[in-house]
């Protein structure tokens, strides 16, 4: 039987492919926001006990991962990016192909891992691994600084999904601390992005190559 959570997770996998294939920053941001929403509501569907505190925490996570973080980057794009291209180092077709290979590899690996799961979702671990690695891929394969920050956010989303999949023992207060750190990190990066735009007039990291050795 197909687990209900697998339905939305398959959409996430699709969004991963789209985010690899898109050339526009605004498109990329939408996919990242969608992934943020899904990874925050996954605990609803799996075996976590839903206490009042848990519910509140899920809402806060949803708000921060799905709305605040993507919105803050979106505002940066509106303010700084004239050319809204992600400026790929590795082309879109190659990226898409890499994404497909990645999804297959993630599925194979997660079957081999033999982790005792909290619930019988076939897609949970493959999706977590895929998001994580795609985030890293975007960090390396895009020259645009904003696209790199989005890659970082994707990576964090992936790690959060790994965390909720593997373990139910985390305290909400600790999780909240992690969330706050990620949020603060994205804010700091947003400020740096604006400064890069002011100093260099572009957000292409090719200009950030003067310090060597």
């Amino acid at each position: 039987m197909i687990h209900p959570v697998d339905t939305i997770l398959s959409l996430v996998l699709l969004s991963v492919l789209f985010s690899l294939g898109t050339s526009h920053l605004t498109g990329l941001i939408r996919f990242v926001a969608f992934q943020g929403v899904v990874v925050s509501i996954v605990p609803f569907f799996i075996g976590h006990e839903m206490t009042g505190g848990g519910l509140l925490f899920t809402m806060v996570t949803l708000w921060i991962r799905g709305v605040v973080i993507p919105l803050s980057i979106y505002l940066v794009i509106k303010r700084v990016a004239i050319r809204r291209e992600v400026e790929p180092i590795i082309g879109y077709h190659a990226s898409l192909f890499a994404g497909l290979v990645l999804i297959v590899a993630a599925s194979v690996v997660s079957y081999k891992l033999n982790v005792p799961l909290i619930m019988k979702s076939a897609l949970l671990i493959p999706t977590a691994i895929t998001i994580l690695v795609t985030g890293m891929f975007l960090l390396m394969a895009r020259r645009n600084a904003i696209a790199m920050v989005l890659g970082y956010i994707m990576m964090e989303n992936g790690i959060y999904l790994v965390g909720t999949t593997f373990s139910t023992r985390a305290h909400h207060i600790v999780e909240f601390g992690i969330l706050l750190d990620v949020l603060a990190g994205v804010m700091v990066m947003a400020i740096i992005l604006q400064n890069i735009k002011q100093k260099f007039d572009v957000v292409d990291t090719a200009v950030l190559r003067t310090l060597k050795e």
Binding site: V115, P116, L132, M136, L139, A145, M148, V149, Y152, M155, E156, I159, V162, G163, F166, S167, R169, A170, H171, V174, E175, G177, I178, L180, D181, A184, G185, V188, M189, I192, N195, I196, K199, F200, T205, L208, T210, L211, E213
Partner: protein, 474 residues
């Protein structure tokens, strides 16, 4: 009491954002003094934390805490003079970030919960980012960007590693708090495969922040572009904080009987760092970058010693303490040189011994100390590490270790001679050497000398306690 130690600098840091220049500087020194006093009190009393799930007073944490406190106090005194001479535009952001940075580093030393440790270390990255961008130049912006991105991505790996360790607990059916001290005592029941995976990710993550090669690329940029008091803090204590994360995880590995696995990783990456530093120091043209690479080298030495274990681990802790003292003094003096000559390039300096005699004494003393000459403590630390390596039969790696240290000494000495004695085009020195800008360095170097001859019993015992799990001690 422990919580006050974290909260006080945080609150004064927020205050400092709104204060005028002179009172901001005074606040920096006062908070430093208060923090040092309280740290000494905690050292003596060893109190229990208010939230024992998350925080605890551990021997290795106490050692780092005392080093942080002492360094911050002396650096704060230096900063009063430096800030007057350097004329930084947004000084309130600098002082505020320094204080919040202190708060986050204190939190690292006190963290016992694995995730809280991660939160604290990531917070140090964010608090120190504004410090690197203090000068508002293109180069400093680039350094800040690299620092925040590389460290955040690196540390995200450590978060993944921490998650994997909780997985190792689930599979091993361990019901204990997710804290380093609890895990060390139940380490044998953890699932070894996932524990190993967790260690690898945590090592890569915190190793990035610690500046181990080949993940060190952000370090020379950040340390050379930051204003000197901030560089001294980054190099002197921030790297120790990241090391603390690796050290504590390594303790779990040893307790679980996987010490060989983690030890080999530490030795290999330690050696790579030392060799990488040696190649870059030889052809360095800027003195602050040279000091930064020397930090990479010393972190390599410390990782190497920890990997050797036994007396080598004892030596690593000695190196850790003395590297903090000596390297921060060197970075502070490099601030004087930068202000005096107005350039970071080695070729623009020269005749330091004649032109800035007081700074020269501090710089040359620091150079002797960092190269491992007696009577400075690094000599003893490195000696212990080499003895440890021979005792455990690591003859080949010990040979590479010694050879690399010789190369680094040669490169370092060459550059220091140029700065100290070569002719210069500089007509005059732009600052006067005020007492507040040389005495902190003297105090740091003196502490290193004193600790070399006389290690107080309580300090000795704390180091022994810290390395007991990894077979430390004589």
């Amino acid at each position: 009491m422990i919580e006050i130690l974290m909260l006080a600098p945080f609150l004064t840091g927020i205050m400092a954002f709104f204060l005028p220049r002179s009172s901001g500087r005074a606040l920096l020194v006062l908070t430093g003094a208060f923090h040092l006093g309280l740290s000494v009190l905690i050292w003596i009393k060893r109190p229990v934390a208010l939230f024992p799930d998350y925080f605890a007073v551990t021997p290795e944490g106490l050692l780092s805490l005392l080093v942080i406190s002492l360094l911050f106090f002396l650096i704060a005194i230096y900063s009063t003079g430096y800030l007057k001479a350097a004329k930084i535009k947004s000084e309130h952001i600098f002082t505020g970030s320094m204080l919040i940075f202190l708060a986050t580093m204190t939190m690292v030393t006190m963290s016992d919960h694995i995730m809280v440790m991660w939160i604290a270390i990531e917070a140090t990255t964010l608090a120190s980012a504004p410090l690197i961008y203090t000068h508002r130049t293109k180069a400093s912006l680039e350094a800040t960007w690299k620092y925040v991105l590389i460290c955040s991505v690196g540390i995200a790996m450590a978060l993944l590693g921490s998650v994997l360790i909780t997985l190792a607990m689930d599979i091993g059916k361990v019901d204990a708090p997710v804290s380093f001290s609890a895990l060390t005592s139940v380490a044998k029941q953890l699932d070894p495969t996932w524990l190993k995976a967790g260690f690898v990710f945590i090592f890569v993550g915190y190793g990035t922040k610690m500046g181990l090669a080949p993940m060190h690329t952000w370090l020379p940029d950040a340390h050379s572009e930051a204003p000197s008091p901030a560089s001294a803090l980054l190099s002197g204590v921030l790297l120790n904080c990241a090391y603390l994360g690796i050290f504590k995880t390594n303790k779990i590995m040893h307790a679980a009987g996987l010490g060989d696995f983690s030890g080999t990783i530490l030795i290999v990456f330690g050696l790579i760092s030392i060799i990488a530093a040696a190649t870059f120091i030889l052809k360095q043209t800027e003195y602050k970058r040279m000091l930064a690479y020397s930090s990479v080298e010393n972190m390599g030495i410390i990782a190497f010693g920890t990997g050797i274990g036994g007396i080598g681990a004892f030596g690593a802790i000695i190196c850790l303490i003395h590297h903090s003292l000596i390297k921060s003094s060197l970075f502070l003096t490099s601030g004087n040189i930068l202000l005096g000559y107005g350039s970071g390039l080695i070729e623009k300096t020269g005749r330091l011994a004649k032109l800035m005699p007081k700074s020269f004494v501090a710089f040359f003393g620091g150079f002797a100390g960092i190269s491992g000459f007696p009577p400075f403590g690094i000599f003893i630390g490195e000696l212990f590490i080499i003895v440890g390596a021979f005792r455990t039969g690591h003859f080949f790696v010990a040979g590479i270790f010694i050879l690399s240290l010789c190369v680094i000494f040669a490169g370092f000495a060459n550059q220091v001679m140029k700065i100290s004695f070569h002719d210069t085009t500089a007509e005059e020195i732009k600052i006067t050497e005020k007492a507040s800008m040389v005495w902190p360095q003297y105090a740091l170097l003196l502490t290193s000398i004193v600790l070399c001859f006389w290690l107080p019993d309580s300090l000795y015992q704390t180091i022994i306690d810290a390395v007991a799990t990894i077979g430390g001690g004589y």
